[in-house]
Symmetry: C2
Subunit: 409 residues, 2 copies
């Protein structure tokens, strides 16, 4: 596609910009978001209207809606990214070799990033800002439900690029109602360097199966909290509650609560009441079903991301059973143990094969901001390239720059 070639060519320009020029562009985007607020809201209304006509799920419509508060949040997000450090140019390591060669390993932009996402239009601005900060060109392919909103936001980004005197292809927002452009993106070897899919399981597995381009996937979060035999009861209740109810619709919310059988009675008797009074639906294993409100869970529950006020509960006989359960059914996102036992804490930290493993804290902290990395483009649940919250640094790669004085081998 001609578009891909144009974006590829524009990537050379953004890659070489100084931090201050990139920040000028980001400031321009923030200003234009404010200035063209009404256009955004009008476009968004059309999307929301269409979504209502099509009887889409209310949670989807909620994610689709923009209002002044959400536009303010977008603007604040861009401003936060302006204030972050520029990852480009950082010398990761460097040394003088015995033969006198000076070898530096330097952070450089990846090139062209293709981002494939679903209904939330704010991702368009977040993703654009992070790609700009890290010196990358971007092809942003959002969900068809947000088409009008994305066109409006894409126009604002283009206008900002042109205002600053840059190639307007640096950020290209694509409208692709039938996945045909997405299919072309997944095969655009030589034009797109990295594909980031963000969304539901269907989208992710489609991209994994069809992409010829390296991907960093942001998969579901089937997160666990394990209440160890040696847990502090009060802390256990606080973490089990917070991990589930503070924001059930996000990927770092807990979906499965594992409880050591030795403390099950003492802990669960209270916990189920607290969940119940917080409107949390409960399903569980046979032993968990002995507690009030707990309905039977089936096999599929253990690997389900509810994204809702619902929890699956399993009683286990040992920490090993808890760890094996997590490694089998979890998604490698975020998992926590609550314990006062030193050895169990270390065993859990070392044996759970996830991006973020917690002792005595809520899984809800897995987030670029909370980790001090700045804004994130998502949480990588794969092991290659980057794992966990993916910030501007992870949108770069490295290159060896070697300064010689005529060395031969």
């Amino acid at each position: 596609m001609e578009l891909f070639a144009n974006v590829k060519s524009s990537s050379k320009q953004i890659a070489r910009l100084t931090s201050s020029r990139k920040n000028d562009l980001l400031k321009s985007i923030a200003t234009n978001l404010d200035r063209f607020r009404k256009d955004i809201l009008l476009a968004n209304e059309k999307d929301v209207e269409n979504a209502r006509k099509l009887n889409l799920k209310s949670s989807l419509i909620d994610r689709l809606i923009l209002n002044d508060k959400r536009i303010d949040a977008m603007i604040n997000g861009v401003n936060d990214i302006i204030n972050q450090d520029d990852p480009v140019g950082i010398v990761e390591s460097g040394s003088i070799r015995p033969n006198g060669l000076k070898i530096n390993k330097v952070r450089v932009p990846i090139g062209v990033i293709g981002i494939i996402y679903e209904s939330r239009p704010n991702v368009t601005i977040d993703a654009a800002a992070l790609c700009i900060k890290s010196g990358n060109a971007a092809i942003l392919r959002g969900g068809k439900e947000a088409s009008f909103s994305n066109i409006a936001l894409g126009d604002i980004i283009k206008k900002s690029l042109v205002d600053i005197g840059l190639d307007e292809n640096i950020v290209s927002v694509i409208i692709d109602p039938d996945r045909s452009i997405m299919d072309k993106m997944l095969r655009a070897r030589g034009f797109i360097d990295l594909i980031i899919p963000r969304g539901g399981e269907n989208l992710i597995s489609y991209v994994v199966e069809h992409s010829l381009i390296p991907i960093v996937k942001h998969d579901k979060g089937v997160c666990h909290v394990y209440i160890d035999q040696f847990a502090d009861k009060e802390m256990a209740i606080s973490i089990a509650l917070n991990s589930k109810v503070s924001r059930p619709g996000v990927c770092n919310a807990m979906e499965t609560l594992l409880v050591h059988h030795a403390v099950a009675e003492e802990f669960l008797t209270d916990m189920v009441e607290i969940y119940h009074s917080n409107n949390v639906e409960m399903v569980g294993c046979e032993r968990a079903q002995l507690y009030k409100y707990v309905k039977p869970a089936d096999e599929s529950d253990w690997s389900t991301e509810y994204l809702d006020l619902k929890v699956s509960i399993k009683i286990v006989d040992s920490i090993s059973e808890a760890i094996d359960h997590i490694n089998k059914y979890g998604s490698g996102h975020s998992d926590a143990i609550v314990t006062e036992n030193y050895s169990n804490a270390l065993i859990f930290l070392d044996s759970v094969d996830s991006a973020a493993v917690y002792v005595n804290a809520s899984t809800r902290f897995t987030d670029g901001g909370e980790f001090g990395l700045g804004a994130e483009i998502g949480i990588s649940t794969q092991k290659l390239h980057c794992r966990g919250p993916m910030g501007a640094r992870d949108l770069t790669t490295t290159k060896y720059q070697i300064f010689g004085t005529g060395q031969i081998r």
Copy 2:
């Protein structure tokens, strides 16, 4: 496949071994390579005999052959890896967040690495040793030409694992004459975490097109040396000669020489004589064909990895033309400029989009050992995960370990 499940299960054991236990295993492999030297040589003779019967290319047979010297080299390679630092457990970064959470980003093994390679049987030992050092289980799928050699080497590794009291599946050497097991490897999601293909273009592109598992590819090296208008002539000749002839069969050897037109006559008149006396075959663009011995190049020459005493020569009008040529036809491996001009050196370093970019040095230095990284499993020509020489560190990933005291969000 049952084998994949067994290797996956064994990966937990190797991941948790201390450095000294892993080094014990490596020492045992080195000892057994020496002790069972005769068995290896006998097995290798069968492979070489078969290869001769099948009239395989002499370069392929040469790569296949093992002798005492090459077995010594394998043993030395293992000993070098013993002496390297263990990448597992390194804390890449860590801090205490404002809420008191202690967050560490720690290097951990990737899990199970699948390595797909061609005829050289020494790769079996190199790859096994690097995977062991980095705490990974390995599935090693070598070329069918080396089957008997690989069976013998695989037995030695298994014996060493058993001698040390470890799971014998930790390193599994696979014999796969018809690619059927390779096809299964490429689809073994949940069992193999990373596929590394090493070999010719056909193998690499087959793997890229069929793998559902993340890959780090070690592609061809179409490396360039650009003789700038401001090059020191003597240095230019020395680097252009060394990059081509010191070891033409490896990926960091130069394939294309680019020469600025302003110095072409002075430089090339001598250079072609030197190449000729070193038995280097020359093809070139129209202007280069004016020089002695230079035959016409066609379009395909510019992207060909000769791996032989052959060079393509192009005369360019500017440094930008040289850079554009490299970014268009190169493979992103290693490229060098020879210049005394400060600005041109910086422009080249920043604009050439390759894993290793040199000023005034031979491309032949791109190598884990020369870069001070220790042994390498290959040179990554992709941008994701790692780029350039891939050592033990790059066979690990990271994980966040978070120490809390009851924090909720």
